[in-house]
Amino acid sequence: MNYNVNEKGYYGEFGGAYIPEMLYPNVEELRQNYLKVMAEPEFKKEFDQLLKDYVGRPSPLYLAKRLSEKYNTKVYLKREDLNHTGAHKVNNTIGQILMAKRLKKTRIIAETGAGQHGVATATVCALMGMKCVVYMGEIDIARQAPNVARMKMLGAEVRPALSGSKTLKDATNEAIRDWINNPVDTHYIIGSAIGPHPYPDMVTKFQSIISEEIKWQLKEKEGRENPDYVVACIGGGSNAAGTYYHFLDQKEVGIIAVEAAGKGVDSGESAATSALGQEGIIHGCKTLLMQTKDGQITEPYSISAGLDYPGVGPLHAHLYKSGRGEFYSATDDEAMLAGLELTKLEGIIPAIESSHALAIFKHKTFKPDDVVVISLSGRGDKDLDNYIKYFNL
């Protein structure tokens, strides 16, 4: 089985570029150039340097002793939460802003749900002096005020998405429409491993620094490069794609995905795409997505805004369908409790997205000598309001 994207942009049967002709020149320009640009020594040097000096990489691989004791296995946390801007998102925005510069683009657009990708995009635009417009659902703008303020401080214009359900899906639609209206000077920084080819592959490759580091860090700590399992939460799936990337062909490494079950997979308020989705087209790619029998895309729900997406990246659809990945889902309650547990045991307040990955222990029992690496994709500062409300703090 091959887990890399093929020359037509597919992972197995998923992927491709199902885009209106208006987007073809942009996407084609990117497709023809992205691998070439990423292979340039100058590009690599600049990317690596910024990841080191600006983002603060490598992010630590931390042996969580008390968590390990509690679940009687060996748990390492990959600390993406310690990155500048507080999550893994910045790995991708650094890569893409450098790509945009190489393609001589002068204006950046992005979509954001909770605002993490919007902040990471606004940050690199400030760094590079580029014009930045972030689309955000009107409802998300209201419930994520601090991130909206951060983006504004960073010089970005935050435009409300007023269509549909006024959340992430609609913000993505608006960003795509903006790109249709501005086909020459603009680069669209997609925040997850979704969208038309080459986006899923490009985002995965920029995020693959996560698993690249895990390999050498684990070698130092355990004397071996490969853990028994890598675990990540999945919305669109960018932190998961980066966490899995260098282990996809290592059969001995178990790939574990945790989706957001919301109020329960069958409650009608869920974002567990692998369980509830059918094959279809969303935002330019063929993948699994939540939809009606009639092919209308439905609204997901999760307490975590970052997992509140009705689709999943095509790589993950392939991992699910091929059986390479084990897919679980954690409810809001399970995730919130797992987040609180990590806080109490290790002194780390995780993002609610990452708390879903931590809830794996409610669903799977590991062996005492298993080495389990969990991607702690983001920190919980942005979620304090949610934690306060949920636990009556």
């Binding site: 429409r177 087209i281 330019g284 895309i297």
Partner: protein
């Protein structure tokens, strides 16, 4: 011969209208089609509403959302159209996004279209390469003409590929924009219209996006075979309902 091909041979500039099926009311579909034909419209694009219309501006987003709220589905649209050929003879094209068709089943969808008397399809997010690799044979089997879009940014080389793959007409998007966002044409459009005319393509071109009155219709059809009006017609329906369709058409030509 397919009705679209026949229509393209007529010695006149063609006026085509797009509307969203299920809007303003669920059961307006047949009346709108009949009134459009009675008003002298040459061809109709029947929009199958989609929850996430990426290439559409606010007007068609709103009509799509309203149509879905009214309960429009693929099955209901097919049911509404089942006797349409008893009363309507101009070319009818279904326009929609690819996902609803994919869920219905591409082969079943095409067979149903043929049964009803649909002449062609416009699916903005079904790309040329995928169409050719996977679906062209099915479309042809059911005598459905697939219509591709070109824009001012489309390269000559790609336009030639699209011309080769087309067998009815080419949908010329007038500017880099979503539907309904610009009105009036400037120098950029003039240059683009002339560039396309000078390419001497095999397929006639019908211009869409940005046409909303007699002036823009005449400008668009100076070189092209015809023009499509969408958002402006939807706005008319929103404001005036379905009883003054001929009045809208008479203002265009």
């Amino acid at each position: 011969m397919n009705r679209i091909n026949q229509k393209m041979q007529e010695d006149k500039k063609l006026l085509s209208i797009y509307f969203t099926a299920g809007y303003p009311s669920l059961n307006d579909t047949v009346k709108i089609i009949q009134d459009l034909e009675a008003s002298g419209i040459d061809m109709i694009e029947i929009g199958l509403p989609f929850s996430d219309p990426l290439a559409d501006g606010p007007t068609i987003q709103n009509s799509s959302t309203a149509a879905l709220k009214n309960g429009m589905t693929t099955n209901i649209l097919f049911e509404q159209l089942k006797d349409i050929r008893k009363t309507v003879s101009i070319p009818l094209i279904l326009m929609g996004y690819f996902n609803p068709m994919l869920q219905y089943g591409v082969e079943a969808f095409c067979a149903k279209c043929q049964e009803i008397g649909i002449d062609g399809l416009i699916l903005p997010d079904l790309p040329l390469a995928v169409y050719q690799d996977e679906y062209e044979a099915i479309f042809k089997k059911h005598d459905l003409k697939n219509v591709f879009l070109i824009t001012p940014q489309t390269s000559d080389e790609r336009i030639k590929q699209i011309d080769d793959a087309s067998n009815a007409f080419i949908y010329m998007v007038s500017s880099a924009s979503v539907t309904g966002s610009k009105s009036g044409f400037g120098n950029t459009q003039e240059t683009y219209f002339e560039r396309i005319a000078s390419m001497k393509l095999n397929n006639p071109q019908i211009v869409g996006f940005g046409i909303n009155n007699a002036d823009t219709f005449n400008q668009a059809t100076k070189n092209a075979k015809g023009a499509i009006i969408g958002s402006a017609f939807i706005k008319h329906l929103t404001k005036n309902g379905v009883n003054t369709i001929s009045k809208f058409v008479s203002k265009i030509r």
